[in-house]
Amino acid sequence: MTVQEKFYCVLGGVGALLVLASVITWLLWMRRGNTPLITNLAARMRAWWVMVGIFAAAYVLGRNATLVFFAFVSFFALREFLTLTPTRAGDHRALSIAFFILIPVQYWLIGTDWYSLFAIFIPVYGFLLLPSFSALIQDTDHFLERSAKIQWGVMVAIYCISHVPALLLLDIPNYKGQDALLMFFFLLIVQLSDVFQYILAS
């Protein structure tokens, strides 16, 4: 099988699964109407369709599109994280750097195959720079606490998430050109774990 064929098989399988699940959701809805459980299930179904649609589109559009897509995932994740994190006015510059410099640079490093810098850019340079900029504002209240929270957000939302598309950097023997499939597989596993956890819990 060529890579393309494999991809279409995987996508077809996922699609079939989603169609089946949607039909079941619809049947349940016909029988029981709008109970909270079914409304929630329908919302999840919609989210999964959108997710698969976006991932498939990113795959078809190629590597750069995938990177841009994940950069946006990081952006939205960091935004959610920092919205809930009590930062102060003095952190404004550090936050701007996290959003508008760290995210683009981190994904650009994947795009240019610069693995050695990609791996240390945030844990070393980011972690030194962010608190430095906050310190220069001279707001010392809760300084360590604030720095730690911002760094943790950056770590989770940018560094960790960027390792998903970083699978594209891997050079596995006898597996040339199929890294994107590996990434798709990884996402599938993560999502299936979410699906099973949801089904078994309810």
Binding site: R79, E80, L82, T83, T87, A89, H92, L95, F99
Partner: protein
């Protein structure tokens, strides 16, 4: 107008500006929305949070010394936001600085005002200037709606020029009115407490 649509689109994309109608429902009744003031984005966020039909008849109040001091800002304020410009330094103004607001209210517009008169460094409002009292006294039929703008002081605090895209919410409280014979100081602190009450 296209400029308003553009400004609202940008505000939504950057800040979310989601409305939470806690104490009242959206209504086209004539209202004065008053809120805590921490950022240049406050006006945009509150305006963008209103439904389009209400927004069309709601005019933000902006300081003439800031928004009127160059052509671009003036154009943005008047054409983009349909703002009412007022003179903050009453010494400069020949007539009552609130006169433009009286005219706007007489024409049936709702207003967005920031009664502190200037931006604060912290989220909770400082003391209110008496302008709101005179408006309430002269137009007792207009509903006074306290509004709390959450998170905007973190997005673009005083002294910064570029917003960090955190998600902001706009909380609308229950309508208030001036009570019979209520003194200025008591009225203003009651209004301030209503905004503070929405903060938690």
């Amino acid at each position: 107008m296209w400029l308003s649509q553009l400004l609202i689109g940008l505000t939504r994309a950057a800040l979310g500006a989601t409305p939470r109608w806690i104490g009242c429902e959206p209504s086209t009744a004539q209202r004065i929305y008053f809120a805590n003031h921490t950022s240049h984005l406050d006006t945009m966020a509150l305006w963008a949070a209103l439904p389009p039909a209400i927004r069309a008849s709601t005019r933000p109040v902006a300081a003439a010394d800031y928004w009127g001091n160059n052509k671009l800002k003036r154009y943005l304020a008047l054409q983009g936001l349909n703002a009412v410009l007022i003179e903050r330094n009453s010494g400069k103004a020949m007539s009552n600085p609130l006169e433009p607001l009286y005219t706007a209210l007489e024409q049936g517009a709702s207003l967005i005002v920031f009664p502190e008169g200037t931006r604060q460094a912290q989220a909770l409002p400082g003391t209110f200037k008496p302008g709101l009292f005179y408006l309430a006294e002269r137009f007792p039929q207009v509903e006074l709606i306290p509004v709390y703008l959450e998170n905007i002081h973190r997005c673009m605090p005083k002294g910064t020029f570029f917003p960090v895209p955190l998600i902001c919410t706009v909380r609308f409280g229950a309508p208030l009115a001036r009570e019979e014979g209520e003194a200025k100081g008591a009225f203003l602190s009651r209004m301030r407490d209503a905004v503070v009450g929405l903060a938690s």
